[in-house]
């Protein structure tokens, strides 16, 4: 399976502030990759580089084999792009915007668009600017589905949406992507949404990638152990096998890729006495916070 997106040795700075260095991202055809990271970790920077709105300091991103700084109109026609906040031409109504975009894409199929619009309680002449964020999200999604792109790049699709619209958006999107073998590259602040949508996860921290793998592998391999320390002076945060170590008084949350046996053996060997040792089942959000830390 070929890579639809390939970013090699991407380095970017804002002024003197390093955003990331030698970042490598690969997204396979037909997969849904979720880019997770805290605010300022470089998610929108990456989206902007992918769309050619930002020139990286060094390195390159390829989409369908073309450098994203010089995408041809034909390749741009194969990419659907959702801007953070579901931004669209707010001075248009739903008829005008459909008419506008339909002229640009030879394979335009307005059925999914009107299917979604029929679910909205909006007037035929109502401007997009007067719609709720949820309604605007459906307009933006409908337009992308009508464009029928091979790759969808979605920047924080859940921003401003209530739970019902988020669920509608995700379910529609995943069903569409899997039925049509579409590739999706997405970011979202609401990680529980991602769990329902993505196949692969890429977690970024400031300046670096913490992990990129299938989300199932990440959830299987990354573990949380909670225990109470008898000596609350113990600090395991510097240990190689520890991905994150959170301690409040003597209560510990330890995050690692190692097994329960390994951790227990390590604690025994070091003579660290614990109570109430248990592995905790994590959601993707728990795992994200576990890996990146609470601060």
């Amino acid at each position: 399976m070929s890579n639809v997106i390939e970013c090699n040795n991407l380095t970017h700075y804002y002024g003197k502030k390093l955003v990331y260095e030698n970042l490598n991202i690969h997204v396979k055809e037909g997969s849904i990759l979720g880019l997770l990271g805290k605010n300022g970790a470089g998610k929108t920077t990456t989206i902007n580089i992918l769309n050619g709105f930002l020139q990286p300091r060094s390195g390159e991103c390829l989409i369908f084999g073309e450098n994203t700084q010089k995408l041809t109109p034909k390749t741009k026609g194969r990419i659907g792009f959702l801007i953070e906040g579901h931004i669209q031409y707010s001075f248009m109504n739903i008829h005008q915007i459909e008419k506008f975009y339909s002229g640009f894409y030879p394979g335009w199929n307005n059925k999914p668009y009107w299917d979604l619009m029929s679910k909205l309680k909006v007037g035929a002449n109502q401007k997009i600017s007067s719609m709720s964020c949820g309604q605007r999200s459906q307009v933006a999604l409908g337009l992308i589905l009508a464009q029928d792109p091979d790759l969808l790049i979605l920047d924080d699709f859940s921003m401003g949406l209530d739970p019902g619209y988020r669920r509608l958006f995700i379910d529609y999107l995943r069903a569409y992507a899997k039925a049509e073998n579409k590739t999706i590259f997405t970011t979202s602040h609401i990680i529980s949404d991602m769990e329902r949508l993505i196949d692969d996860v890429l977690i970024m921290d400031y300046n670096r990638v913490l992990t990129q793998c299938p989300v199932g592998d990440f959830m299987r391999d990354f573990k949380q152990f909670n225990f109470d320390l008898l000596n609350d002076k113990v600090d395991l945060s510097k240990e190689k096998f520890v991905a994150n170590f959170e301690k409040v008084k003597n209560k510990v949350e330890l995050y690692t890729y190692e097994s329960e046996e390994f951790v227990k053996k390590y604690l025994n060997e070091k003579g660290i006495e614990t109570r109430n040792f248990q592995q905790v089942t994590m959601s993707l959000e728990d795992a994200f916070i576990g890996l990146t830390g609470k601060y």
Partner: protein, 218 residues
């Protein structure tokens, strides 16, 4: 693309044409009033020997129309960086910008031509060919100022950085008055062509702001 631009500017354009035509009507109603109450001879004397420009109220109208259409067309593109949507369309980015610029320019030219035709038609009825030609020569740079204002507003509004916007605005404040200096009727005749060429030169300056946006200046 033209459809999008039309949706943004149609009401402002219609309003601009209406205001321009009303201004022309007002100018000639004033001329008619002067002829009726003060006599045609007196009005002709003022125009020929006292440099009375009976059409002076038209001076800033093209400028305001040009700047207004520029704002109506480009400001919505910068709100929430909506211009990204245009850059993402399956077109070469410069072509997309030139189409936007072309749509605005054609709209502006239509409004200006309608106003000039109305002015010319009424002027030759009142004052004959020779004085009307001098009047057209005088108002021509005012309409060029309208075009220049449109191009400069595009450059300023599309620029991503405020400090550059202010710099461009200062340049515009120095540049645009070149078209509007007070002079005798027809005084601009020798340089109208040069002003037109200058206006054409600044017409594509907006591409630079668009390029800077695309490269991620912020």
């Amino acid at each position: 693309m033209i459809y999008k631009e039309w949706l943004k500017i149609r009401w402002f354009l219609a309003g601009s044409i209406l205001v321009g035509l009303l201004a022309v009507a007002y100018i000639f109603m004033n001329a008619q009033r002067a002829i009726t109450f003060q006599g045609a001879n007196n009005l002709w004397y003022l125009i020929l020997f006292q440099n009375y420009q009976f059409y002076s109220m038209l001076k800033y109208i093209p400028l305001l129309i040009g700047a207004g259409i520029g704002v109506a067309q480009y400001f919505p593109e910068t709100v929430n960086k909506r211009i990204k949507l245009t850059f993402h369309l399956p077109l070469l980015e410069n072509n997309a910008m030139l189409m936007m610029l072309g749509a605005g320019l054609v709209s502006l030219l239509i409004s200006f031509i309608l106003i000039i035709i109305a002015f010319w038609g009424l002027s030759i009825t009142f004052f004959g060919d020779e004085m009307s030609s001098a009047a057209i020569t005088t108002i021509f740079p005012w309409f060029l100022a309208g075009l220049a204002a449109y191009f400069l507003v595009a450059l300023i509004v599309m620029e991503p950085l405020w400090k550059y916007r202010i710099f461009y605005a200062l340049i515009a404040l120095i540049f645009v008055p070149l078209y509007l200096n007070y002079g005798m009727a027809g005084a601009y005749a020798p340089i109208n062509l040069k002003l037109a060429l200058l206006t054409i030169l600044i017409s594509v300056s907006m591409l630079f702001s668009a390029y800077r946006f695309r490269k991620g200046e912020m």
